[in-house]
Subunit: 233 residues, 2 copies
Amino acid sequence: MPKRIAVLASGRGSNLEALYAHFTHRAPADAQIALVASDKRDAGALAFAERNGIPAVALEMGAGHAAALATVLATHRIDLVALAGYLRLVPAEIVRAYRGRIVNVHPALLPAFGGKGMYGERVHQAVLAAGARVTGVTVHFVDEVYDRGATIAQWPVPVFSDDTVHTLAARVLRVEHRLFPHALAAVARGEIRLTDDGRADGAPYRARPDAAFALGTPEDDDLARNIAAAFAR
Amino acid sequence: MPKRIAVLASGRGSNLEALYAHFTHRAPADAQIALVASDKRDAGALAFAERNGIPAVALEMGAGHAAALATVLATHRIDLVALAGYLRLVPAEIVRAYRGRIVNVHPALLPAFGGKGMYGERVHQAVLAAGARVTGVTVHFVDEVYDRGATIAQWPVPVFSDDTVHTLAARVLRVEHRLFPHALAAVARGEIRLTDDGRADGAPYRARPDAAFALGTPEDDDLARNIAAAFAR
C-alpha cells in the first residue's frame, strides 16, 4: 500500500507541487499526498491542494494546536509528515508520536545556516553575508529542535558572485524540488529509517562523487539523473 | 618582485610542501617561501624547510612570543603569512600589523565545523558525527578570532558512507593542497585583497559551476585544472 503523506507548508507550496508530481506521476506505489495542512489560511499550498482534490486544512494555532493537529493526522490516517517550507515548530507530542516519520527540507547544508529564525530568505541572506561559496540542501528527520535530527541527504549548490537572495534561493529551490521527493520516497519504502540511537539508517552517501557534485548546470535532466542515481539500489 | 611568504605550521607540513612546489616550480614570479616557523620544535615542516634550504625557526612560546614572532617576520622581510596547519592563535598585534596579509586554510566549509578547538582530526570527527554528506576546504584572511575572517575560496568535498577520519582527512587534504597555493598566489599578485570593511575583494566565485563541483574524482589533473580555472583571469 502506498504510504499516506501529509504535507505541512506555510508558503506558496512549490515543494508540495514537486512532491505531488513525483508521487502522482512517477512513484504512485511509494506514497500519495493524502493531506495538505498550513498554519496560514491564505497559503498557496492550500489553494494548490484544493485545485488538485487533496484534502486541505488550515491549522488552528494557539492552545489547542497540538491536539487539533494530532486529530487531523489521525483522521486522514497519515503515515508520514513532510515539512515543505513549514515555519512552525511541530509540537513535541506530535514529534514523539511520529518519530522517524517526519521529514524536513532545509535550504542550506546543516548544521550551517540552520536553527531558530533561519528560514526562507533569511537563510540565503546569511549565506551571502558569510561570503560562503558553497551552500546546499539538507533533508533530515525531525526532532524537537529546529533543524536538528538525523541527516537523510545533502546536496551542494554553488554560490555565484552576482547572486542575490532571489537568484540563490531559486538555485537552491531547484535542488530541493529534486532531492526532497527522492529522499521521502526512500523513507516511504522503508529503505531509510531512523534508528533508536538517532541515525538515519540506509541513507545514501555518494557512490559516485563526480555525479554528486555535477550540479549547478543548466540541465535539469542531469541534476535529476544524478539525484535519482544516488537513491538507486 | 616575488612576495616573501612565511609559512607557519604545527604538523608534518604537507600544505607547506604543496606551497613550496607551487611557488618553486609553477609560479616563482608570484612568491617564494622565505621562512618556515613552527610552535613545535620537532614539526615535520621544519625538517622539510631545512632539507630545502629554507630558513626554519622554532618559535618561542610564552610571554615573549608576539615580540619574537614580529622580529623574525621583520628580519626575513615577510610580505605574507600562510597558516598551514598552524594550531596557535596568531597574536593580535601580528594580525593587526599584517592585516590582509595572513591567510589560513581550514579543512571544512566555514562557518561549519570551525572555531576554537576545531583543528586537525577533530574537524573531520565532527563532520562524521554530524552525518554531513558535504564538507570542504575554506581559505580565508585571518583576523583576531579563530576561523573567522573574509572567505577567499571554498571548495566542496563529498563524504562517503565508509569514511573514517583518516580517509576523509586525506580527501580533504588533497583539495587543500590544490586550493591553498592558487588562493595564496592570487593574494600575492594583489588580485585578491582584504577591504577596509572586511570583504575579500576580487575573490573568485564559480564562473563554471560544473567545473567547481567536479571533484572527488580520482583524477588529480581534473581537480587541478578546475581549481586553476577558477582563479584564471
